[in-house]
Symmetry: C2
Subunit: 216 residues, 2 copies
């Protein structure tokens, strides 16, 4: 797969089939993940791949609860506001996220990355994103979710046998599966709107560049 | 460029030439960066590209001070310990990092990403890593550094005109330039050593997979 194809079309793929992902694909995704940089090459990371249906049933319950909590706190009023504004993009994301909350237990594979001595996250999320890009190369859809780590951190760590008092923190639950939806370009504010040249507020003076991929 | 080539050979490229990076390449790197995921697609990011030599001179001074502080605190004894153990890999990283501290002001481009409402870093470091992978595709070497943000956060924000009280936090200083060194596979502990299957401590039962790229 072409690098730009992966960088541009790896959208959050929450809706996935229950079909299992072959071991060699999982091994390949993980092998790509651990090539990523970490501060001082510390590689202070561990990863747990979960496919066990009993564990997934429990995780699915917690995920649904955590998603509900997110909607009652940080996301309170979000759907209503999007409806009023006619913000279809946000509504689509929220619908898709609700699907994941309703179907988390049927996701064939979830990868849980853990890190320590990494307060900024700079040493784990490049690896998480490499995992997701490598998955894209294998036709596997992923979604970077953090609600379990926010609302159910201790429960998840206990279920997965993460040792206590060693400083390990869960960074994400990356859902993985063969997509029900289509790959494509996600909606973003243009780079020239969010990038400044030399100083905050100073717009860049870039030539026009086209998309480096062709969209069907 | 092939996705795996980028994922496997984008090593920290600290030693770079002072030659400027064309605007269309910077625009392309930024365009790739903003395709990355962020929580709820919030895109709560801003990016500043710095090439101005006066600003870089000041940043270079601060970088050298910050690097010294890092070596006196978190990294204290690191070089000595590596020498005693004959750990050449760590010594090479430390030498290369010292080069960057001595030559920061000559780096042609540094990209400063800022984020807010993102305590874990999950919504900025995928984008930072996409920037670095896209740079790799253009033959541009990068290094994800965080010491300025740790030791000189307020000074950097003032120099770059970042508005106060709006919640913006600097996530990194990504140095960018055409490499003096060679691309290649960085040293990592194997995925099978740091990945567990279903539960912490349980090794994965994966088939052997080869490297997906050829090394010269």
């Amino acid at each position: 797969m072409d690098l730009n194809e992966a960088l541009y079309t790896t959208r959050a793929m929450r809706r996935v089939k229950p079909d299992p992902i072959p071991d060699e694909v999982v091994a390949s995704m993980m092998d790509a993940a651990i090539r990523s940089p970490s501060g001082g090459n510390s590689q202070n990371w561990r990863w747990i791949t979960v496919t066990d249906r009993e564990k997934m049933a429990q995780l699915g319950e917690w995920y649904a609860e955590a998603w509900k909590q997110l909607n009652e706190t940080f996301y309170a009023g979000r759907v209503e506001a999007a409806r009023e504004k006619g913000d279809d993009s946000t509504l689509r994301v929220m619908n898709s996220a609700q699907w994941l909350a309703d179907n988390f237990a049927s996701v064939p594979l979830v990868v849980f990355p853990f890190h320590r001595n990494d307060p900024s996250g700079a040493s784990i999320y490049p690896g998480v994103w490499s995992l997701m890009l490598a998955a894209r190369g294998h036709g596997v859809g992923t979604c970077l979710t953090t609600v379990l780590g926010i609302f159910k951190h201790d429960e998840v760590c206990e279920l997965l046998g993460v040792p206590e008092g060693k400083g390990w923190t869960n960074a994400a639950a990356v859902t993985c599966g063969y997509p029900l939806g289509r790959w494509g370009l996600a909606k973003r504010a243009p780079a020239s709107d969010v990038t400044f040249s030399e100083s905050w507020g100073n717009p860049p003076d870039w030539p026009e560049i086209g998309l480096p991929i062709s969209l069907d």
